[in-house]
Symmetry: C2
Subunit: 326 residues, 2 copies
């Protein structure tokens, strides 16, 4: 049984008072007519989500970053978060840099640590973020997974695949020049949640998700929630691998680069859709948030995800996303 089946089988219930329950990047509550609250929780377990030797400062950063990325994918403004921390022992040499990394990112996004829990146990970090989404004339500006429509453009922010390159490079399953590995590792350890872009896309994007498990898998959630299909251009996708543009990378086989981009995971970029009439607005949102975006495909009526190369010929989709219980 996979992660999604598990949730579906044991924990899914019909939504009652919430505006939106399980299954999007955030849940939505609406305690007052003009405001919605976006809520998201992520748990990181040592040995599973982070390498044992990771620098505590970057771990603190990343633990919050992955949660802020969920708020970004909903277009929410970060307000506050809680931190639950199980620690094998109280080690100031670990706690001091961990809290500095965590709170530096929190400060950068005006997201306040408002509570939580600490206990003795195997190193585990659980963060719940809470964000604010305006409701204008009765219409929520939240970006959901379910809003993609046939004909919409598909975009990705920033670059993809470096985290996977770093993981494979660190494990030794891929040989990379030291400088390239260090750069990719920096990207894996310190993702920058696209909060400003998410907020700028309110009222512009039709659907959004953050890329944590891999582009194809996460985009698949948008397609499923929206009841549509899509076509993606692998030639454009390949340009999203930042270090794939460097001369040194031409050594990497195209299949490896494509795997990193399409199914690498741990990217924390946004994948989003917007009507083609909004192309100028998308570019304006990208400029306003100083975040590059790339158009990589189009939403189609027919279900499923079709990969095509530069010549429009089909590319077999043999890429799998990450499942914590697969």
């Amino acid at each position: 049984m996979g992660e999604f089946d598990l949730i579906e089988r044991y924990f899914r219930r019909p939504v009652r008072q919430a505006v939106l329950g399980i299954g999007d990047d955030c849940a939505l509550l609406q305690p007052a007519p003009a405001h919605q609250i976006a809520v998201s929780t992520d748990m990181l377990v040592a040995g599973r989500h982070f390498l044992a030797d990771v620098d505590p400062y970057t771990l603190g950063h990343k633990a919050l970053a992955v949660n802020l990325s969920d708020l970004a994918a909903c277009g929410a403004r970060p307000m506050a978060f809680t931190l639950a921390l199980a620690l094998p022992q109280v080690d100031p040499l670990w706690l001091a840099p961990f809290s500095r990394g965590l709170l530096a990112l929190a400060d950068a996004h005006g997201c306040e640590l408002i509570g939580g829990d600490t206990t003795q146990g195997p190193l585990t970090i659980c963060i719940t973020v809470i964000g604010d989404i305006p409701v204008v004339q009765g219409r929520s500006l939240a970006l959901l997974r379910s809003g993609a429509r046939p004909g919409d453009d598909i975009y990705v922010s920033g670059t993809l695949g470096d985290a996977r390159l770093a993981l494979d490079g660190s494990r030794g399953t891929l040989t990379l020049p030291a400088a390239q590995l260090a750069a990719a590792r920096q990207r894996m350890d310190s993702p920058q949640p696209r909060v400003a872009l998410g907020m700028a896309l309110r009222g512009v994007a039709s659907a959004a998700i953050d890329i944590s498990d891999g582009l194809l898998g996460d985009l698949g959630h948008v397609l499923g929630a929206s009841g549509v299909g899509a076509r993606l251009d692998t030639a454009i996708a390949l340009t999203l691998l930042r270090h794939g543009r460097d001369a040194a990378d031409t050594d990497l086989a195209e299949a490896i680069r494509l795997t990193c981009v399409l199914a690498g995971g741990d990217d924390y970029e946004l994948a989003f859709t917007a009507p083609s009439s909004e192309r100028a607005a998308v570019q304006a949102a990208a400029a306003a948030s100083a975040t590059p975006v790339t158009r990589i495909g189009q939403i189609e009526v027919a279900p499923g995800l079709r990969l095509v190369d530069a010549q429009g010929a089909g590319v077999a989709n043999t890429f799998r996303s990450f499942d914590h219980f697969a």
Copy 2:
């Protein structure tokens, strides 16, 4: 370094946009003028917070109950919660009863599961609850720890000490008749959060806290936050041990019974204060919520907590509360 020092040292910051940050039962946000949001997070680790052989149904109940108890202590109406779950493996024989116990209590309190996370890892349960608190004419009705004033009465809801009796009985450090152990264990495994009482005490109680680490320790947080002291009647406190009223219990030494009541922990009752002018209102709140309350002492100007017996003579305070890192 203890749990509170750890938080103080590494994670405490000045509060900015939140109404209330770290240090009460819940944090408070106010996204709209007439509403506050109460937020609380608890993490339960196998082997630390629950016995390995605990029934999954009761564990599901308890994991949510301890969080709802924090909302109760703020007078918040439960709205929703997130669940992060690390599991060693996907075991339907565990997950099915766990989710049933969790969701049965959620349904009983109208508290909706809106999201969360699941991952592979050592069995850990992290829940964040979100509740609603009205703001009337600019004044929040949240019950805080900081509102106790000299002369206020001190109350405790329900009964105290059974969870500690059950723990000592299960560990064999205390010998109890089987029926009594079973009854106490039921109380330890299935605490009933005092949500209705907390809501009924809005505008009546001056301060409140839920008793998770032991009455004296938790009441000490109220005294510290309010800048006051207190006098507690140990003779009345002894009557709070439910099974202490049974004939079979006269075998238990008074010191043991007093330890269970004053420093037992895991009770999830409310300790609260109210001006003596509100005695009728407190009784009305107790009646409206069908929750017995007992007046056990009084807030005083002089800092510190003084225990007195039925004759008013001092009783040495040798009781310690639970600290996860002590």
